[in-house]
């Protein structure tokens, strides 16, 4: 029997409460690597800072193993994130958990954030580190069968497909790693990707050694098919233009991410992909509003990059606040 105890109990322990209606130096929206590192740097600079979070730890929580964070030789996403959180907790940064920010307004030099429950929080500067969410295939049947065979978290939903046939859509590291994990549980795994694999070679080698894995490259999924539950996908082989039906009870979509930009899309400039445009100081087009991590146009969505961008955003915000 395994236990994945999270006993810094960060999500349990009372963190300092965030004061409504008083003026903070800096509020940070998001508690992934970018938001947490921003909080660490800001607090150490002496700023009055607080975090507003929907999901403590962010997406790293859903990563089964992290092997490319310098100094950490293989950890689960969860244990890494809990180390981040306990580090931030040593500085007693107030955190609001499980509440979503509904709107942001800038009134003169102040930011005003309204939560889903109506509470209002104010600050001089703001860091948006809201991360990203799984990108969808955007094909017929996907939404209909979401939660009925179409899944977006392989480590969560994998056990439900024990001994069954599953499809992984995607060709990056997350897709290939999901395929490796699922090959240990499922009867067969079919990886379907519209172009060539772009995962790290070290991961691809691991995939190739699994016996129950089939790979279809240059193959585009066109429809998720089912009857109440998923029965398979229709796809087109782009080399031959032939259509094929791949039977499966589960379709795991691992095709990258979309930025969580809903809160700020009318406040700051976004690029064509909907990512917040930031400069080297992590400034956005709105003065006093900084952004960091996967929600920005900074290339390469990596834990170590998000964390360092968070640090930069906090230092920039500190300079800004000191010159107000």
């Amino acid at each position: 029997m395994d236990f994945n105890l999270n006993l810094d109990f960060s999500s349990q322990k009372k963190s300092e409460s965030v004061r409504e209606n008083s003026l903070y130096d800096l509020l940070i929206i998001g508690s992934g690597p970018a938001g947490l590192n921003a909080a660490l740097y800001a607090k150490r600079k002496g700023l009055e800072v607080a975090i507003l979070s929907v999901k403590m730890g962010g997406q790293v929580l859903d990563t089964s193993s992290v092997e490319n964070y310098l100094g950490i030789q293989g950890a689960t996403g969860e244990s890494l994130v809990h180390d981040f959180i306990s580090h931030v907790n040593t500085l007693a940064v107030p955190i609001i958990k499980d509440e979503s920010v509904k709107s942001i307004e800038k009134i003169e030099d102040q930011f005003q954030l309204t939560l889903g429950n109506g509470a209002v929080y104010k600050s001089k500067a703001l860091i948006v580190a809201t991360g990203s969410k799984p990108r969808q295939l955007g094909v017929k049947g996907e939404a209909e069968y979401s939660g009925r065979g179409v899944a977006y978290c392989a480590i969560c939903d994998g056990p439900l497909f024990e001994g069954r046939d599953v499809i992984i859509a995607g060709g990056g590291n997350s897709a290939v790693e999901a395929a490796i994990d699922l090959s240990k549980i499922a009867k067969t795994v079919t990886l379907v990707h519209r172009s060539q694999l772009r995962a790290d070679q070290i991961v691809i080698d691991k995939l190739n050694s699994a016996e129950n894995v089939k790979i279809h490259l240059e193959t585009q999924i066109t429809e998720v098919v089912g009857e109440n539950l998923v029965t398979g996908v229709n796809a087109v082989d782009k080399k031959t233009n032939e259509t094929l039906f791949i039977p499966a009870e589960g379709v795991f979509v691992e095709i990258g991410y979309l930025p969580n930009n809903e809160l700020v899309k009318d406040l700051v400039s976004l690029n064509e992909s909907g990512e917040i445009i930031v400069n080297a100081q992590n400034e956005t087009s709105l003065k006093g509003l900084y952004a960091a991590g996967d929600v920005t146009d900074t290339p390469y969505k990596q834990i170590v990059i998000a964390a360092s961008e968070g640090a930069k955003a906090a230092l920039s915000a500190n300079d800004y606040i000191n010159h107000l």
């Binding site: 029997m1 395994d2 236990f3 994945n4 105890l5 999270n6 006993l7 109990f9 999500s11 349990q12 009372k14 929907v54 999901k55 929580l61 859903d62 996403g77 969860e78 499980d98 509440e99 979503s100 889903g116 429950n117 109506g118 979401s146 939660g147 009925r148 065979g149 179409v150 899944a151 977006y152 978290c153 480590i155 969560c156 939903d157 994998g158 056990p159 439900l160 497909f161 024990e162 109440n228 539950l229 998923v230 589960g250």
Partner: protein
């Protein structure tokens, strides 16, 4: 054979030292046809041994049918958390709360032991207006990192309102029930067997669905 290793025992011992009130774990099993019952009981015995304020009571689903009915237990293994008066508070775990679910089980014990964060006032005042029974099932897998969060929220709501009962359901142990509700993504939350959503959503999403049961 010890289920918890020394490090885990030490960590849990420390966490439990904050308990303010007694808690009873009522564990239901039955003879035969229960793959994880023996393991579950052994796990609970170890938890009991970690703090004097934790008590274990073992029941059989059939032999103690009356208790099972009172605690709304219909599947095994099932763990019901009772307070210092041994009252049923409407929270339970169906299936062994191992893997990531230890992160809903331990907080559950702590909540009942009087160590927990209060719900926001706006929420408790709305819960006070409930008049009809609400059952929340949270389907989980033991490898799901954010499922425990959804279980914790459901249990917190149940502790706040006498009209709500909330239960974790380990999807693999209870495959038939999971199939009945088409569980293929977790956490899947099913309210009064009728309203459902997927994911560890904020409390206001739970509330939204709960409201539908009151009309």
């Amino acid at each position: 054979m010890a289920i918890l290793n020394a490090q885990l025992r030490a960590q849990l011992g420390e966490v439990f030292s904050e308990m303010k009130k007694e808690v009873t774990l009522a564990v239901f099993t039955k003879e035969g046809e229960c793959n994880t019952c023996t393991e579950t009981v052994a796990f609970m015995e170890e938890i009991e041994s970690l703090n004097d304020k934790i008590h274990l009571k073992k029941f059989d689903l059939n032999a103690d049918a009356e208790k099972a009915k009172a605690f709304e237990v219909s599947m095994v293994p099932s763990i019901v958390l009772l307070n210092d008066q041994e009252d049923y508070l409407g929270i339970k775990f169906n299936g062994i709360p191992a893997g990531h679910e230890i992160n809903s089980f331990i907080p559950g014990i702590l909540e009942v032991a009087g160590v927990g964060e209060a719900l926001p006032e706006s929420l408790s005042s709305e819960l006070a207006t409930l008049t009809k029974p609400v059952n929340i099932k949270v389907f989980v897998t033991l490898s799901c990192p954010h499922c425990a969060g959804a279980v914790q929220k459901a249990h917190k709501l149940a502790l706040e309102s006498p009209f709500i009962n909330a239960e974790m359901v380990e999807a693999q142990t209870f495959g038939e029930l999971s199939n009945k509700f088409n569980v293929s993504s977790v956490p899947k939350i099913v309210i009064n067997d009728q309203y459902e959503f997927v994911g560890n959503q904020p409390l206001d999403v739970f509330l939204e669905e709960i409201r539908k049961t009151q009309s």
